[in-house]
């Protein structure tokens, strides 16, 4: 009896497994590009690929809301090409392989015309093959390490020459900094940025002894030793500054420790590339007065466009305290560029839109007009802001004009001859020395 029963269960499970496999195969077939297209013709679908759970939810949820807000505003104006935009939100849950899966789902199952998404470089790298294979468009809104130019990706965040290099220039000129601490979280963005900065500083005559490089694990919370080291490094009689590529949550305990150990911005200023209004919303900023951040946008910049954007955003989120930040502005620019390109070619066909995007101009929120470049990066102004007591930034310096984003850093040996040009050369890594497409990268 007992053996019969177990046997029964075993067969049942096997049968179920068979059924499940069959279902899986069918499901795959249904979602493959070969399946007949069933996209609804009355709307244009826009994919949103931002983590809504897991570690990155803290930063990415806001960007999901931003695109929903922009779509809402666009639909109020009548949509695009006479059709309403329809957002499709998926949650890749801060899980890098899941980003690729969800991207595939958005493109093949939901038939989106464009995707706005990703935050970390790992997640971008994970979805790249999917966008290439299925030929769709990704707008990537976060400042990143550069060294990339892909046909299917449009980079609306800052490349290193639009954030890191101007920040260092500012410290050299205005604060007369002679000694540098490059502190970062141990992953690709800080490592590449610090490599570029180190090469740049050395080209400006800074000695190796005057550069201290320090990496910490993700979510590092015990900063006592490192802050004490920075203090020690700063007591060599030369003006010292910290260039911080510390990511995400680790910033709060870092700044708390700086404040508690009494390091003031007038002694050792910290310039950060990943600390914005959103991150400061979680801390008391009074001890941080005067520490710096370099971005292409600050909420405190007073322009009519920005004031309108903030007002509408706070009304949309029904939260009068909701802050805005740099990656949000990047999405704002990217979204408007995409709308303009689609209206220009009167189609959402990715090939046509990709070819139409370079050269498209869209206003940014700081009073200028950003332009999509042939290397799929955009022109942006660079601002240096000092942290104020209320969690906002006070702009103390800005570049005279807009800075064009370099896909490949001019400071690094391996990439200084490369350019991305998807208009003339149709190549993301064109070597200007050998006049050939190819080299480092893909």
């Amino acid at each position: 009896m007992l053996t019969q029963l177990t046997h029964g269960i075993a067969t049942m499970t096997r049968r179920r497994a068979l059924a499940a496999t069959a279902g899986l195969v069918l499901g795959l077939a249904a979602s493959s590009p070969l399946a007949p297209a069933q996209a609804a013709d009355d709307t244009i679908k826009v994919g949103i690929l931002h983590s809504l759970s897991g570690t990155m939810a803290i930063s990415e949820t806001t960007l999901k809301d931003t695109i929903l807000f922009l779509i809402d505003e666009q639909n109020k104006k009548g949509g695009v090409l006479g059709k309403k935009l329809e957002p499709v939100v998926v949650d890749p849950a801060s899980n890098w392989p899941l980003f690729a899966e969800k991207a595939r789902e958005l493109i093949t199952k939901d038939k989106v015309a464009v995707v706005f998404g990703c935050w970390t470089s790992v997640s971008r790298k994970s979805v790249l093959p999917v966008f290439k294979e299925l030929n769709n468009i990704l707008f990537y809104p976060v400042q990143y390490e550069g060294e990339e130019s892909e046909r299917n990706v449009f980079y609306t965040g800052a490349a290193p020459n639009q954030q890191a290099i101007p920040a260092v220039d500012y410290l050299m000129k205005e604060e007369k900094v002679k000694r540098w601490v490059l502190a970062g979280t141990d992953y690709v963005y800080p490592r590449t940025t610090n490599k570029i900065l180190e090469a740049y500083l050395k080209s400006k005559g800074v000695a190796q002894d005057d550069i201290m490089i320090n990496y910490t694990p993700f979510g590092h919370s015990d900063w006592q030793t490192i802050v004490a080291d920075i203090k020690k490094f700063g007591s060599a009689g030369k003006k010292t500054a910290v260039v911080s590529t510390i990511n995400g949550d680790a910033n709060v305990p870092f700044y708390k420790e700086l404040g508690n150990q009494g390091i003031k911005a007038t002694d050792i200023p910290v310039v950060a590339f990943s600390v914005g209004e959103e991150e400061l919303a979680g801390i008391d900023t009074k001890p941080l007065l005067g520490h710096l951040a370099a971005w292409n946008y600050f909420e405190s910049i007073k322009t009519p466009a920005n004031e309108k954007f903030i007002k509408e955003w706070q009304a949309y989120t029904k939260n009068p305290k909701r802050v805005t930040n740099d990656p949000m502005e990047a999405h704002y620019i990217g979204f408007n560029m995409w709308v303009k390109a689609v209206e220009k070619v009167k189609s959402t066909d990715p090939d046509k839109v990709i070819d139409a995007l370079p050269g498209i101009e869209a206003p940014n929120l700081t009073g200028g007009t950003s332009k999509m470049l042939p290397n799929h990066h955009i022109t942006k102004p660079v601002f240096i802001g000092e942290i104020k007591g209320n969690g906002q930034f006070d702009v103390v310096w800005k570049t005279p004009g807009l800075v064009a984003g370099d896909a490949w850093s001019k400071e690094l040996e391996g990439s200084k001859d490369l350019i991305g040009d998807w208009v003339g050369k149709k190549c993301g890594n064109y070597n200007t020395k050998t006049n050939k497409c190819g080299g480092q990268g893909s």
């Binding site: 809504l52 759970s53 897991g54 570690t55 939810a57 803290i58 949820t61 806001t62 205005e174 604060e175 141990d186 320090n214 990496y215 910490t216 694990p217 979510g219 590092h220 919370s221 015990d222 006592q224 030793t225 490192i226 004490a228 080291d229 203090k231 020690k232 700063g234 007591s235 060599a236 009689g237 030369k238 949550d249 709060v252 305990p253 708390k256 420790e257 404040g259 508690n260 150990q261 009494g262 911005a265 007038t266 200023p269 959103e278 991150e279 919303a281 979680g282 801390i283 008391d284 001890p287 005067g290 710096l292 000092e386 007591g389 006070d394 103390v396």
Partner: protein
């Protein structure tokens, strides 16, 4: 524009131009003017209380008591003009302000201000302040401030190009006696000097450096104790649920997180209703966090874990799933972004002990951890519940036959462990982010401490936490934070090979049970 009378008024009006270069010129001119309002103007500028009206070029001081006066005349004003904005500063100007204020407050009647002034002159070593510093030095009666003035004078003399060699040698000796990092910065930044002075300065630098190197050992030890206390605090609840009960509780970190969020809620209520109580917010949060996390712990034990005793794999999976559920629940309720938990005034800042800086928040957390540990130990040793807990874990059937309601004890034990994790959350909210991910960063460390210390032994957890903390902090300056952490993990793996039951292994029948 109204006609302005006199140079002082013209200088003050420059604050209204909203140009950093004009502000800088104005600071210099106002400081040099000798006007009685100079000091209030510049200290108002430093605190962001100086506002200017760009249209009328009038400048106003908002006094500490909220009254507003005209900066040029000192006459009271009813209210600020609508378009008046605070005068902006950048870091360069803040340094200028500090130096100017240092010069202006050297003779202040308030000893704290005089000390601050002396220290800022030590940093800025403005040559033209020498007579004022010397005058202040002669008049000063408080010993520690006199010392600070002497050091400030020495700093100026060292950078004065026409000071005699013997004066400079004396100055080097004074700065050397100060012996801290600022003295070191001053001496290394000295630039070209006469050979005799340069030699003295070099020897002073090396003596300060060797002295500081010794202090840095003390500092590492302190940092180690502090990190150890954080590890212990995070692990102590797990030492009960995992160590004593044997439940592999992956949701332990989330109990810590719930404690931190309880602190946030308490502070929110206090901020909106009873702002005067803010300094007591943590004291109020501790019992509440214990109750919240403890209650949820009991709930989890009654609904999930009690069906899984003796099935470690299923417990692991169930509690891990539970941790995800709790995280997402908090994310839905409070939002994914960090929540601001403020530090009460007694938790902020630092004091100097010799040449090391001890921050108050770390010191209090160390004391708090030791207190929690002592109370827990006493509870297990001297109370009836503690006795029952020990009885049940040592021999469940025997305890049951002695009339102990074992399932009730199980629930209470799990609730106790969870409650203590909640208390840990209150303390950790002071040094870490309060976000739904808070618990995840502590779960691995907590298991590491409990396993290393010896499962089932509270003293083992104590020694384990401090050992790991101190080892980590001595490795970090040498190997860096990333390698240091890896090295610790490798050491633990090797150690567990040698002693699978941890530092303090339980012996006897309890082990086999």
């Amino acid at each position: 524009m109204p006609a302005l009378a006199g140079p002082f008024e013209d200088s003050v009006a420059k604050f209204a131009n909203d140009e950093f270069s004009d502000t800088e010129a104005a600071i210099g001119e106002v400081a040099a003017s000798g006007n009685a309002l100079a000091s209030p103007i510049i200290s108002a500028l430093q605190d962001g209380r100086l506002s200017a009206d760009p249209d009328s070029k009038k400048v106003f001081i908002t006094q500490a008591d909220g009254k507003i006066v005209d900066a040029t005349t000192g006459a009271a004003v009813d209210k600020l003009p609508d378009n008046a904005a605070a005068v902006r500063l950048n870091n360069r100007l803040r340094r200028t302000v500090e130096a100017a204020l240092g010069g202006l407050t050297l003779l202040s009647p308030d000893p704290a201000k005089r000390l601050a002034a002396a220290q800022s002159v030590f940093k800025s070593h403005e040559e033209n302040l020498l007579p004022t510093v010397e005058g202040a030095l002669a008049k000063e009666s408080v010993k520690s401030i006199k010392q600070a003035f002497a050091e400030a004078r020495a700093a100026i003399v060292l950078f004065k190009s026409d000071a005699s060699d013997s004066d400079k040698l004396d100055a080097v000796a004074v700065v050397k006696a100060r012996g801290d990092q600022e003295a070191l910065a001053l001496l290394t930044g000295l630039g070209d000097q006469q050979p005799l002075v340069a030699k003295a300065a070099a020897s002073a630098v090396s003596s300060i450096q060797s002295n500081l190197a010794m202090w840095s050992m003390v500092q590492n030890a302190w940092y180690g104790l502090s990190l150890g206390s954080v590890l212990l605090l995070a692990a102590i609840g797990l030492a009960i649920t995992f160590g004593v009960m044997g439940v592999i509780n992956m949701a332990h970190g989330e109990m810590v997180m719930l404690g931190a969020y309880t602190t946030f809620v308490v502070q929110e209520v206090i901020r909106t209703r009873y702002p005067a109580l803010f300094d007591y917010s943590l004291l109020i949060a501790v019992p509440l966090a214990f109750l919240v996390a403890g209650f949820i712990g009991v709930l989890i034990e009654r609904t999930i874990i009690r069906f899984l005793y003796g099935r470690p794999l299923e417990t692991l999976l169930a509690t891990w799933g539970l941790s995800l559920v709790l995280q997402q629940a908090v994310r839905t309720a409070f939002g994914p972004t960090n929540r601001e938990v403020g530090n009460p005034s007694w938790m902020s800042g630092a004091f100097e002990l010799g040449q090391i800086t001890i921050t108050y928040n770390r010191l209090w957390i160390l004391c708090f951890t030791l207190a929690v540990f002592a109370i827990l130990l006493a509870m297990l040793r001297y109370t009836a519940l503690g006795l029952e807990m020990r009885a049940v874990t040592q021999n469940r059937r025997m305890a049951a036959s002695m009339g102990i309601a074992t399932s009730r004890v199980d629930a209470l034990t799990f609730g106790l462990g969870s409650g203590i994790a909640g208390i840990a959350g209150v303390a950790l909210s002071q040094i870490d982010n309060v976000s739904p991910n808070l618990g995840q960063s502590y779960i691995i460390d907590s298991f590491m401490v409990v396993v290393f210390g010896g499962v089932g032994n509270l003293w083992g957890t104590l020694v384990g936490a401090f050992t790991l903390g101190i080892a980590n902090k001595f490795l970090e300056p040498v190997a860096g934070a990333v390698l240091g952490k890896i090295a610790i993990l490798v050491l633990i793996i090797l150690f567990i090979q040698k002693r699978p039951r941890g530092l303090f292994a339980l012996k006897g029948r309890a082990v086999e049970a």
